[in-house]
Amino acid sequence: MKNKTIKVGYLARVEGEGALYIKVKGGRVTDVKLKIFEPPRFFEAFLRGRDFAEAPDITARICGICPVAYQMSAVHAMEDAFGVKVEGQLRALRRLLYCGEWIESHVLHIAMLHAPDFLGYQDAIGMAKDHPEIVETALKLKKTGNEIVSLLGGREIHPINVRVGGFYKAPAKRDFAPLLERLKWARDRGRELVRWTARLPFPDFERDYEFVALRHPDEYPFNEGRLVSNKGLDISPRDYDDTFVEEHVEHSNALHSVIAGRGEYFVGPMARYSLNFDRLSALAQEAAREAGISPVCRNPFQSIIVRSVEVLYAFDEAIRIIEAYEMPDRPSVEVRPRAGTGYSCTEAPRGSLYHRYQIDDGGMIVDTKIVPPTSQNQKTIESDLWQFVPDYIDLPDTDLKWKCEQAVRNYDPCISCATHFLRLEVEREQ
């Protein structure tokens, strides 16, 4: 009775292929493994010998859900290597593109992947039968995010307009007019989405995480800032490799990342929010307060509220950027490759995404390192389950299994990213 194994052979509603294995003996959890069997695709290897200019388009293919994040980390790392600064409207357009991706990716997770867990549906399609308004509205919000990416990037998945130094083509101010109207409508609905997520039933669960995210002097972070934590970390992305180490464990095709000498940490919306609440727009702060979450949120199940606060922020920020936009004289700044190493961390929807490239004097990539958010969160996900499962151990297996899946989905894990990275197994020993 008190011994069991929970196995989720193929975790659903996550991006990519993974499994979960939990072993319970005498009512105690004795093993938790988040297994990643998504086949490896070896990006770091075949980037060797490619031209620096190809990195944004190639690394985008690591993940179809957050290609903009890969493109942004790639271009900023290259620009770091070459001493190039992209400023003014071009810099603003990059933030705008990221707003689009956060909206599209977060709303997909909130409404289609995560909310069904709280309300007991297998999927959003089933949920739509009883809650049509929320699913229909969410689809429209997601579409608005995609429209930002399409307008600026050429298409929603693997946008084609991003290059080292800026863009291939900058939009004219008037191109944004119809989108701006829809964004204003979406911002109002975004506020309602925060209220809706706040009413979901949340398990009483908190942990004292080490949150890690970018922090910028005056903005909510997308592309720039220092990597900070609530436990004293404060580094430039250039010092990433001295601080974080990746471990290769047998049960996973994804590398586990830890803070050297300290261990697991937490990246993603909850970390970003808890470290940067004061950088959110007034509207987003107000919505968070109204939703009853404090400026530091430690309940991972409430990440669904935090994600919707970030969606609201992204709408607000996108509107601000578009209203202040003036078409720049040139769509990109000049880039002269030189030998060196470039580093960048940007805030992907799921958390900080680190890229490092070593370039030779002909502009060719000699060496690459990429650390996606999901591999940084793997250890934290496993630790959550160590603490979470004992409280629910008496549930019937099918319910326990579902609860565990929900705990994993709190992180919106993107397995395709992490293997460049899920299935659940709970073993109860008889």
Partner: protein, 259 residues
């Protein structure tokens, strides 16, 4: 009167970025209507519910890169009345087929400290190298309007209406000035399969071939044109070796330019 059974749709993932199956969830306007007409019987990225086969239509994303996946695709084929591959990974091996030109052991060592934990084949191959495929939809990523067309065509038992011409034709159709003629920008449009709607040239950029080769492309003549624009041999190799590197016409052309 007896109600007609809803056709069952399954979505399968192999080595990929999830972008092509995401295209289905990106059909925000059509998704709920589509879900009313078909039974989404297996789509793990979107649903926990799994129904047993056989499936009327299987969409397959991703390429075969592990011994386990080589077996799994056989099961998928057996359970599927119609099987359609979606995207460059499933249709040509994808960007991960760049390993096919190299020693995969060395690749594993670059990424993983303990390569022994990794089980992988030395080539990334298309689904059609393993099983019979009823239709291949090209693109990295696929175009979602084409995806909707393919699904409705198969469910209604007709041929999908997806043009086989080149990206060049799409430029002409949308009235984009040729970037190669007007600006001397190297472009893969003349040899690349239509479907994207010629996005890159409309953003002042040359096509980079993410939709893969059209039927019988004249890659040799395009390479000559590129050489004339001052593109070096090494670059021509790389240009043909991206998201559709192992599609035969692109592979052969790239090999011709390797010393």
């Amino acid at each position: 009167m007896k109600r007609k059974r809803k056709p069952k749709l399954a979505v399968w993932k192999f080595a990929s970025c999830d972008g092509c199956q995401l295209s289905l969830l990106d059909c925000e306007d059509e998704l709920l209507a589509l879900a009313a007409e078909i039974e989404i019987a297996n789509f793990p990225e979107a649903s926990r519910a799994v129904m047993k086969g056989p499936y009327d239509l299987s969409l397959v994303e991703g390429s075969i890169t592990t011994p386990h996946d080589a077996e799994r695709i056989q099961k998928v084929r057996r359970a599927s009345k119609r099987l359609v591959t979606i995207g460059a990974c499933a249709t040509a091996g994808g960007i991960q087929a760049l390993r096919n030109f190299k020693d995969v052991k060395e690749f594993t060592r670059v990424v993983y400290a303990t390569p022994d934990y990794i089980s992988t084949l030395d080539k990334s191959t298309a689904i059609s190298d393993h099983v019979r495929v009823d239709f291949e939809l090209q693109g990295c990523p696929i175009n979602k309007a084409q995806l909707v067309e393919v699904i409705s065509a198969f469910l209604n038992g007709r041929k999908p209406n997806t043009p086989a011409h080149s990206v060049c034709v799409e430029c002409k159709l949308r009235g984009t000035v040729c970037v190669m003629v007007a600006h001397g920008t190297p472009c893969l449009g003349p040899v690349t399969h239509a479907g994207c709607g010629a996005i890159c040239p409309s953003y002042d950029r040359g096509c980079y071939g993410c939709f893969g080769p059209m039927e019988t492309p004249n890659t040799a003549s395009l390479s000559d044109w590129w050489s004339g624009l001052g593109v070096k041999e090494g670059e021509i190799v790389r240009v043909f070796r991206s998201f559709n590197a192992y599609a035969e016409p692109f592979r052969k052309e790239s090999e011709k330019h390797e010393e």
